[in-house]
């Protein structure tokens, strides 16, 4: 009984912190329609800035300064994320917040290093109430969260600015028509949300140390709390936070601390799925037209010929490169498979998946484990139980697709961006399971695969492997372009333009979205399955959460819905990443000495910036925009209308 009460006490306190983050998410989402992926960053800012000031200033003052800093930064994010009038779509805004979270992580890493930071809370002395230990800090968090929730509710009900925010959440169009400036109101919502999160972070840091990358887990927990009430109300987000906090503590106390986040996320996902029963996705009026634009296809034979020629060249190239370059080239092909799937999902279904890295991981471990063979009793190596590597590789996309189907089925019937959070959760879950289930996965040591991938005596390794991968990329491009230009493709185009009208003309919106999601997962799965045999080795380091974001960056660079762009984007980003790594490995750059974390700072910061800049200025993708510029320049030189313009008119 004492344990039970103790767990509830701790759960209420951590749950209160999640609730504050969740309330912030609800506030922003209701006012602007934007799911703010950078929400957790403000909690980290709150914690770390307070840490920095706590030695010199009284704790309360330090917290206040941290909250102000977070509020100001959040207002900057609001201006950037809401974007230019009418040009930034909802999807683009969400990607901008994602970019902002990575940029912020890079800067926080630069400023505070990667050591988790903590400081003394209000008091070290714990009250002992009938055997239950109650830290004053717990009470403080719970009280502050409750007060903030009540205060916010009163603000929304009683003040004119609060009512204006509610008006925005009821109908942004009508709010605009009565003269309210919805961009200013978006700033108010972002500032409020940022301040609440900073408050949560500065209260939480004494009990759970914080570092630059803590924001992902905080955002996911906050979203899980907010989802409890369907992202709709402050009160329900508070209750959701409590429920989530207590649930996680129960798992810690009664099952296994390793599973606390995993189980909490699974329960929340099930809850979203359960909520989705009544809702129909067709109610969505998301138009992705600003992002995706239908292209006039080349005649099929020309298209096939060009892809075939490019593929032959790509395979030939694999044998011309130096061995060190081959592995980069190989990875470009593998990631391109993932990016092509993701660009179809983002461009046509208007959904972001932040879990393509997880499907890649699932594919890789599926083929590795099946090849090596499972023996649950004596760790994993049991060659007797292993199957042929070829079959193992083929099993990888099947497993990934099956998992995607289970997750996507309930979630894709919902409006909004639940899938983004579900897939991000999936990545966190999969990643922590690698450690929790080390009997199967080898934990941090990973799995060495000895059996080579062999087809009829031809060993697929090194340059052969790269050639196979690029041949597969070619095949996938043919399939993807056929899909886009087929009857299904026209339905997809309709879906991309306007979901509501697509549904009205008989397109099964949810079913198409699901199919795209499963297809994208299968492509990531096969990429992962082959990845295992690129080095005959898999380990968790190859699949960090940032990998999933990297895929989104590749798609954004190439243009949402543009399959050729996805391949080009992959090549560009991996090349850039390689250069950044070389740059970061140097001791000094232009007279500045570089910290140890420089490679991470560079890649996070640059990826974040790329996402923000592209979504603000080139929402159709960087490469298509460059293409436009070239086409226009050529047209000007030759004084003839370019092909693009001729086909548009």
């Amino acid at each position: 009984m004492t344990t039970f009460v103790q767990l509830v006490v701790v759960g209420l306190s951590t749950g209160s912190a999640f609730a504050l983050v969740g309330i912030g998410l609800v506030l922003v989402y209701r006012t602007t329609g934007i799911v703010n992926f950078a929400q957790g960053v403000f909690a980290v800012i709150g914690g770390l800035v307070t840490f920095r000031l706590a030695d010199d200033l009284p704790l309360a003052v330090a917290m206040l300064v941290a909250i102000l800093v977070a509020g100001v930064l959040s207002s900057v994010l609001a201006v950037v994320a809401v974007g230019f009038r009418g040009r930034t779509t909802n999807l683009a805004s969400i990607i901008i917040t994602l970019g902002a979270s990575f940029l912020a992580e890079a800067l926080l890493l630069l400023e505070f290093g990667d050591i988790p930071r903590t400081y003394r809370g209000v008091s070290d002395h714990a009250w002992n109430i009938h055997g239950v230990l109650v830290q004053p800090q717990y009470v403080l968090i719970a009280a502050v969260a409750l007060a903030a929730a009540v205060g916010l509710t009163l603000f929304l009900r009683r003040t004119i600015v609060g009512q204006a925010l509610v008006a925005c959440s009821d109908s942004r169009r009508a709010a605009e028509l009565v003269g309210l400036n919805i961009r200013s109101l978006a700033v108010v919502a972002f500032v409020g949300a940022g301040a609440l999160c900073a408050l949560a972070g500065s209260l939480l840091a004494p009990s759970s140390p914080m570092t630059y990358s803590s924001d992902v887990a905080i955002t996911v927990n906050g979203f899980a709390a907010a989802v409890f009430g369907g992202l709709a109300s402050v009160r329900l987000a508070l209750l959701g936070g409590y429920a989530l906090g207590i649930l996680e503590q129960f798992v810690v106390g009664y099952i296994n601390p390793q599973y606390s986040l995993i189980i909490a996320l699974i329960v929340m996902l099930a809850l979203i799925g359960w909520r989705s029963r009544g809702e129909i996705a067709a109610a969505g009026h998301q138009a992705h037209a600003a992002v995706h634009r239908a292209r006039v296809p080349w005649p099929a034979p020309v298209r096939l010929g060009l892809i075939a020629a490019a593929t032959v060249f790509a395979c030939w190239l694999a044998y011309q490169l130096a061995p060190f370059d081959v592995s980069l080239y190989d990875r470009m092909g593998l990631y391109a498979l993932v990016a092509v799937g993701l660009t179809l999902l983002m461009g046509f279904a208007g959904q972001i998946s932040l879990g393509q890295g997880a499907f890649f991981l699932i594919g890789a471990y599926t083929s590795a484990i099946l090849t090596v063979g499972i023996d649950p009793d004596r760790r994993l190596v049991d060659p007797e139980a292993g199957i042929s590597p070829v079959l193992a590789v083929l099993a990888a996309p099947v497993v990934a697709a099956a998992i995607a189907a289970v997750i996507g089925l309930p979630l894709l019937r919902l409006r909004g961006h639940y899938l983004a959070f579900a897939t991000l959760s999936l990545h966190l879950i999969a990643f922590s399971l690698l450690y929790a289930w080390d009997r199967f996965s080898g934990g941090q040591y990973g799995i060495s695969v000895t059996k080579p991938l062999e087809v009829g005596g031809w060993v697929v390794r090194g340059a052969n492997h790269a050639a196979v991968v690029w041949a597969l990329v070619g095949l996938v491009l043919v399939l993807a372009t056929n899909l886009v230009h087929s009857r299904v493709g026209r339905a997809l185009q309709a879906l991309a333009t306007d979901e509501a009208s697509a549904a009205a003309s008989g397109v099964g919106v949810a079913s198409y979205k699901l199919r795209l999601f499963v297809l994208a997962a299968a492509l990531a799965g096969i990429g992962g399955g082959l990845f295992t045999f690129a080095f005959q080795f898999v380990s968790p380091e190859a699949f960090p959460v940032v990998l999933s974001v990297e895929f989104v960056v590749m798609v954004a660079v190439g243009g949402l819905g543009n399959v050729y762009g996805a391949v080009a984007g992959t090549i560009a980003i991996l090349y850039l990443e390689q250069k950044l790594r070389e740059l970061g490995a140097r001791d000094a750059l232009a007279g500045w000495s570089l910290p140890d974390a420089a490679p991470t700072v560079f890649s996070y910061g640059v990826f974040g910036l790329i996402l923000i800049v592209i979504m603000l200025f080139f929402p159709r993708g960087l490469l298509p925009a460059l293409g436009d510029v070239t086409a226009r320049a050529t047209a000007r030189i030759s004084r003839r209308p370019s092909r693009a313009r001729a086909s548009a008119s």
Binding site: R85, G86, I160, V161, Q163, A164, V166, A167, S169, D170, S171, R173, A174, A175, E176, L177, V178, G179, L180, N181, R183, S184, L185, V187, V188, A289, A648
Partner: protein, 255 residues
Amino acid sequence: MTALVEVRDLVVRYGPAVALDGVSLTLGPGERVALVGANGAGKTSLLNAVCGVVRPAAGTVRIAGDDVTGRAPTHVVRRGVTQVPEGRQVFPSLPVEANLLLGAFGRSFRTEILTSTLRFARRRSEARRQLERIYSLLPKLYELRDRPAGRTSGGEQQMVAIGRALMAEPRALAIDELSLGLAPIVVEQLARFLLRLNEEDGVAILLVEQNAVLAFDLCERAYVLETGRIALAGDSAEIRDRPEVHSAYLGGGPA
């Protein structure tokens, strides 16, 4: 004398689709003007372009001589033209009175939230007076003032939407589909109210209406839109008697 609203050669496109193709229109102070036309003729696009909701590809919109082309709705509201949107679009979760007060807040709104709020607070008594006036014109709203607007009838919501627009003390109301989905008797009441408002307070009315009979009855002048162009313009009485109008919009054979 400058027109209150002056639209010249307006072009509105949605992607490749042309919604308005060189439309010109004037609305004098205190005038009642109707826009009539079939579905998709461009009536709502015209209204939205005037109110700053859609940005025209070409042409100008002037309000009392000031160029407001492409300016945000908040700016247009301050210049004195407020839209009553199609399908009412009240704020359903807010009480009726909050809906109305937001209309006045919108009028005080500039980009900066703090000064906007202070400006609104200074004008609070003015807003109160305006609120009393609306309640006296539409006593029903006074009875409903504490009820969430989403839990009122369609006609009541239309009153809320009109009342909310009036709280901004506009010189012109731009009304999109006054009669849509409302019972004829309710429409008649609202039309009477608008007429009285126009005659007593001099609020000009730009009415988009599917119901041509209502439009011609209520308004002095009318424009007939067809596929993005003005097909006819003139006094309601004259237009009403044109045979092509009669057969196309008034459901009868040749007069």
